[in-house]
């Protein structure tokens, strides 16, 4: 086999498990961004009694390693409790797939991030966040690193699009160094709101543009 992918990766790429969406999902998360490169959406159905994942589905806009990792990680998470599923690492996913090429770490880690983000989304929606850390400017900046800048394929923090972050009384204000009529302005705004609004102490997310 001349391909850099193992038989298991190719099998999951060819016939991905748990593909699709759950319309009445209890939680969902999207990692990556449509215009920048790979993107994964993860949907969860959770039994509220024992916090077990009863159903999980994913969608992928990505390369073979992205699709295969989405497939394996949903298989691994199904039937597990949220706490167990949260601890599934990229390394475990990669090992179960028989290894992934080092250069593909970025594309495959997105699926793992997607699962974790979906679990966090569930916990935030259902008031299960144990530590209840307050949303600080630092936290917002950290989370903005998951928002992609479609012009470069890197996140908005790294590409210096984030000009200002302010957190006051449940309102998060993010100022982007981008004109409002920019072709990606709406997409980035939507992505930011989606990443921050489910926070337990966030009521409003305002995204402003320069110019």
């Amino acid at each position: 086999m001349p391909l850099p992918y193992t038989e298991t990766v190719m099998e999951h790429f060819r016939h991905p498990r748990n593909v699709g969406r759950i319309e009445d999902a209890d939680a969902k998360a999207v990692e990556g961004s449509p215009a920048c490169g790979d993107m994964v959406a993860v949907y969860l159905k959770v039994d509220p009694k024992d916090l077990r994942i009863t159903d999980i589905k994913f969608e992928s806009y990505g390369c073979a390693s992205n699709i295969a990792t989405g497939s394996i990680i949903t298989e691994m998470a199904k039937g597990k409790t949220l706490d167990e599923a949260k601890r599934i690492t990229w390394k475990q996913a990669s090992e179960t797939l028989g290894g992934l090429p080092p250069i593909k770490v970025h594309c495959s880690i997105l699926a793992v991030d997607g699962l974790r983000a979906a679990i966090e989304n569930y916990e935030e929606r259902h008031g299960l966040v144990k530590e209840r850390k307050p949303t600080t400017v630092e936290f917002v900046r950290k989370r903005l690193k998951r928002v992609m800048n479609p012009m470069t394929g890197l996140d908005v923090v790294r590409t210096k699009l984030v000009k200002e972050v302010e957190v006051t009384d449940g309102t998060v204000r993010v100022v982007l160094d981008l004109p409002e009529d920019h072709q990606f302005a709406a997409a980035i705004r939507e992505d930011i709101v989606e990443k921050l609004e489910p926070r337990w102490d966030v009521e409003r997310v305002i995204v402003e543009f320069t110019e």
């Binding site: 391909l3 190719m10 790429f13 060819r14 991905p16 593909v19 699709g20 969406r21 999207v30 449509p34 215009a35 920048c36 490169g37 790979d38 993107m39 994964v40 959406a41 969608e59 992928s60 806009y61 990505g62 390369c63 073979a64 992205n66 699709i67 250069i103 593909k104 970025h106 594309c107 479609p150 012009m151 470069t152 394929g153 072709q183 990606f184």
Partner: protein, 387 residues
């Protein structure tokens, strides 16, 4: 496994034509001597004759004199030789400014970047949505310090042809040397140096069913060029090293085998494929609709990623290429698609199909059908485009 691979990556390299191999064979086993001077032994003189004959025939395809054509190891060397050779010849004497287009292939682009590190200033010309250089921007970019303009004859990915005659005319008027990388167009798209004011032209054998490892550089008489690889005095003392005579003979044979009739056949297949692919929803052609390489089709499919398309097509027995970042060794999206104003998403879903002599007419229908199925399948998995 599929019985026959439908190879549609002829812009990467091509299958050798048996007739080329037959032409080369005697120069491995019978006439294997080095091409000696006119005072040498007879096998060497036979080798010399073969080399001269090959050179004459390839030069003729460019409308050039034999002594204006230098054999090299391929396009990469030819373009390095042109850019660095001119830089060495004129950098101190005239100026340190070079102009290239931003969608050049890596030999030109990275030679320009290497010269930048050595203190040269490089202007990277923009291209329009089809990949054509703006002639006014070129005219304005030329300064008294400009020593060389290098703009490709045809693009490696999207197939767009440049107006080399107009570019050459501007360079001639301004007294600046002009190099064009004709790797992907020679000799299918005619370029006659008697009509086009061009000083240096890069060509190669392996994209026209010739052998790998041989190419050439047309060097107009009296073009200032410093030899940058030291060694013997071969190739008019411009390119050192024992001549690759089987390669040269194979290159000449490969050029001879390219006919206008064949090129018309490839173009007909290209046109049919583009028409079929554009029937797939959310697809768009990359490159110029008409001013493009006769054998190149490049289409982007939204909501899906190129490497996934490529692997699914491979499983069905088709070999194609993509501009997706996921596929490149550098994980960078195609600089060509970004250069024509496309975003990462467009590069992500771009697929290049390039035809060659050994494609059959029915390949168009089978690949178009396979692409339609694969794209539909991947769109089912994709979170995008479902509204």
């Amino acid at each position: 496994m599929a019985e026959r691979i439908v190879y549609l990556d002829n812009a990467a390299t091509t299958r050798l034509d048996e007739r080329v191999l037959e032409a080369m064979r005697p120069y491995f086993f019978d006439v294997y001597a080095v091409a000696t001077s006119q005072f040498g032994y007879s096998p060497g003189l036979d080798a010399r004759d073969a080399l001269d004959d090959a050179r004459t025939r390839i030069a003729a395809a460019l409308g050039a004199a034999p002594e204006e054509f230098v054999f090299t190891s391929g396009s990469t060397e030819s373009s390095n030789m042109a850019l660095k050779g001119v830089a060495m010849a004129l950098g101190e004497k005239k100026g340190k400014h070079i102009i290239v287009s931003k969608i050049e292939d890596f030999p030109v682009l990275n030679s320009a970047r290497a010269l930048e590190k050595q203190g040269f200033r490089v202007t990277y010309l923009d291209v329009d949505e089809h990949g054509r250089v703006d002639l006014e921007q070129l005219r304005d970019a030329i300064t008294p310090e400009t020593i060389l303009v290098s703009v490709q004859a045809a693009n490696q990915e999207i197939g767009t042809l440049q107006d080399v005659a107009a570019i050459g005319q501007i360079c001639r008027e301004k007294g600046v040397l002009f190099h064009t990388d004709a790797t992907h167009s020679f000799p299918r798209v005619p370029l006659d140096v008697r009509e086009v004011p061009v000083d240096l032209v890069t060509v190669t054998a392996h994209l026209i069913h010739g052998p790998k490892g041989v190419g050439g550089l047309y060097v107009r008489s009296h073009t200032p060029l410093v030899k940058w690889m030291d060694g013997g005095f071969q190739e008019f003392n411009l390119r050192a090293g024992t001549e690759n005579i089987p390669g040269a003979v194979g290159f000449a044979k490969a050029v001879e085998l390219v006919t206008p009739e064949e090129t018309a056949r490839l173009q007909e297949m290209r046109d049919r494929l583009i028409e079929r692919l554009l029937q797939i929803p959310h697809s768009r052609l990359n490159g110029h609709p008409t001013l493009r390489l006769p054998h190149n089709a490049n289409v982007s499919f939204r909501f899906v990623e190129g490497e996934s398309i490529l692997l699914h097509l491979d499983m069905r027995g088709f070999a194609v290429s993509t501009g997706s970042a996921c596929f490149s060794r550098s994980l960078e999206a195609s600089h060509v698609i970004l250069g024509i104003g496309g975003d990462h998403e467009r590069a992500h879903g771009s697929v290049r199909f390039t035809f060659g002599r050994f494609n059959r007419d029915e390949d168009v229908d089978t690949v178009a059908q396979a692409v339609a199925e694969v794209v539909a399948r991947l769109r089912e998995i994709s979170p995008l485009g479902k509204e």
